[in-house]
């Protein structure tokens, strides 16, 4: 009796221990998640309640920062306006463009590889400082865009210097990067059974009917996923206007994105608490829009 017990117990212990060792594989991520994601979120909420500067002792001020941004900071409201406009200009255009090009590309047989490379490249390099500088050069008053348009428009528009045109011009830089969504849609299109289109054709359905009745429903989970991810990215956009305007926010603050306002508050004015309060407002906005998108998804997305 005792012998068998002695033999089984270490085995059991070994088994039990083994069951938990599995977690060692994901331990790096667990640590990273805790220290670089979860704790920073909690910490962000905490310091948003403080007057927290690098130079002074921090001081608890309750919702003081939030009161300031809501009632005393015109730049905050400007940045909300600019950010919402920017998301509205950029995300739908990017998705629609990606969808249309993917549909056309899916029907062509020749040269699909080359087109795919050309359309996809901007979305991989487009976030770099170099591309922002190039955008500044091609949309310069005497830049190539005005040169090409000189036959159509005679007075040269100041694309990046005009408060009405600056934000759309920067939005164009992001729409130019529709390629990664396009690649995802293209892969999704390949999975739609060809027979469905053939049957629809026999029933006399036109190109548009097939697009709205077959293509869109099949791609709807992917469209939903892309709208969500793009929205989250675009809400936080920073690099383009920051590089183009050299840390400023464009003519009449027309490109004052929330990301830039947060950076300025925290790292130019060294108000870390106030910057955190601003970034929590960004998180709340993204959260609200995410909930909205999930609601729409429940009603519209087709999981075939």
């Amino acid at each position: 009796m005792t012998r068998t017990k002695m033999r089984t117990e270490p085995d059991l212990m070994k088994k039990g221990w083994k069951k938990h060792t599995g977690i060692l594989f994901v331990l790096p991520w667990l640590l990273g998640m805790t220290f670089f994601q979860l704790w920073p979120i909690v910490h962000s909420i905490i310091i948003s309640l403080f007057d927290y500067s690098i130079f002074r002792e921090k001081e608890f001020i309750g919702f003081g920062n939030f009161a300031e941004l809501l009632f005393d900071d015109d730049a905050f409201w400007q940045s909300i306006k600019v950010t919402l406009k920017f998301v509205f200009y950029t995300v739908p255009s990017r998705i629609i463009f990606a969808l249309l090009i993917a549909t056309i590309l899916n029907r062509s047989t020749k040269g699909i590889g080359i087109y795919r490379v050309i359309y996809y490249a901007p979305s991989l390099i487009g976030n770099s400082v170099a591309i922002a500088i190039i955008w500044k050069a091609i949309f310069d008053k005497n830049g190539i865009v005005n040169l090409l348009l000189s036959n159509i428009i005679h007075n040269k528009p100041l694309w990046l210097g005009n408060p009405k045109l600056a934000l759309p011009t920067i939005s164009l830089l992001l729409i130019w990067q529709f390629g990664s969504s396009m690649v995802i849609f293209l892969a999704g299109l390949k999975q739609i059974p060809k027979e469905q289109y053939e049957v629809a054709s026999l029933d006399g359905a036109g190109v548009l009917t097939k697009f709205f009745k077959i293509t869109i429903p099949h791609l709807s989970p992917l469209i939903f996923f892309n709208v969500l991810m793009q929205m989250i990215t675009i809400f936080q956009y920073f690099t383009g206007p920051f590089v183009i305007y050299n840390g400023q926010a464009g003519p009449a603050d027309s490109c004052l994105l929330l990301g830039i306002h947060i950076y300025r508050s925290a790292f130019n004015m060294f108000r870390l608490g106030y910057g955190s309060a601003l970034s929590i407002m960004l998180g709340l906005m993204v959260g609200l829009v995410t909930i909205f998108i999930f609601r729409v998804e429940k009603k519209t997305v087709f999981y075939g």
Binding site: G22, F25, W29, I104, I118
Partner: protein
Amino acid sequence: MDSATRFNKYHHIYLTLIGVIMVYPILWMVIASLTPSHEIFLTGRFLPSTIQWSNYTEALSAKANYSLLDFLLNTFILEFFVISGTIISTSLVGFGFARVPFPFKKILFTILIGSLLLPQTITLIPRYILFSKLKWINSYLPFVIPSFLASGIGGTFFIFLVNQFIRSIPLELDDSAMIDGCSRFQIYLKIILPLSKTVLITVALFSFIWTWDDFQNQLIFINDVAKFTISLGLRMTIDTTELMSWGPILAACSIALLPSLSVFLMAQKYFVEGIATTGIKR
């Protein structure tokens, strides 16, 4: 000509036209970088009257003791550590989620998915405070340590990618190795890793480009010019030299884009497949 070929023909015209618009900014940059500065904005001509190589020598010449070459070297050093860390950590974690049972796995996987939706801007200021307390500011540790913990740029995306890939490897391989007495770690090391070469190359390539393009994190965590990356160096070049003309600036941009662009062109299949699979199987 039947309607299908006609359809195709029209579509090729659109596709080519859009393609020209897509590559034009980059093409223009390369041509303008070889054009004498005074000519860049003046003429309607497509090609320069003379090829101005001096734009490149000027772009590479040292300013304030550092040149673009120093920044390139810095970025490659940073890339080496970040890519190594990312490959090691995301392959381990991806394997863990795909193959190994452990407590709270479902909840943890849900957190992993949820973290995709987390706007990174919220963590920016607290990470700055954390890194300054750890005395990591002005070093590459704020990039290297997170990458070894699968939470650098794109970390969650990479875990997903590896996880999806490993799930497609037949389980029988693990089973027979286990019967032969292999431990989980040996299965990871001897069976799964060698079979995952393609997905790990994809991870390395994406990691390379995203670190190369990153600007905001580098701007906040690195202040010392000696440690500047190409993004920071390039921005400094245009900022400190107001008088500098467009020719050398665009030459500097071309140099800065050359590594990422050539990596993309050489390995575009990996990029296309990488982004397509995560988009589909979410």
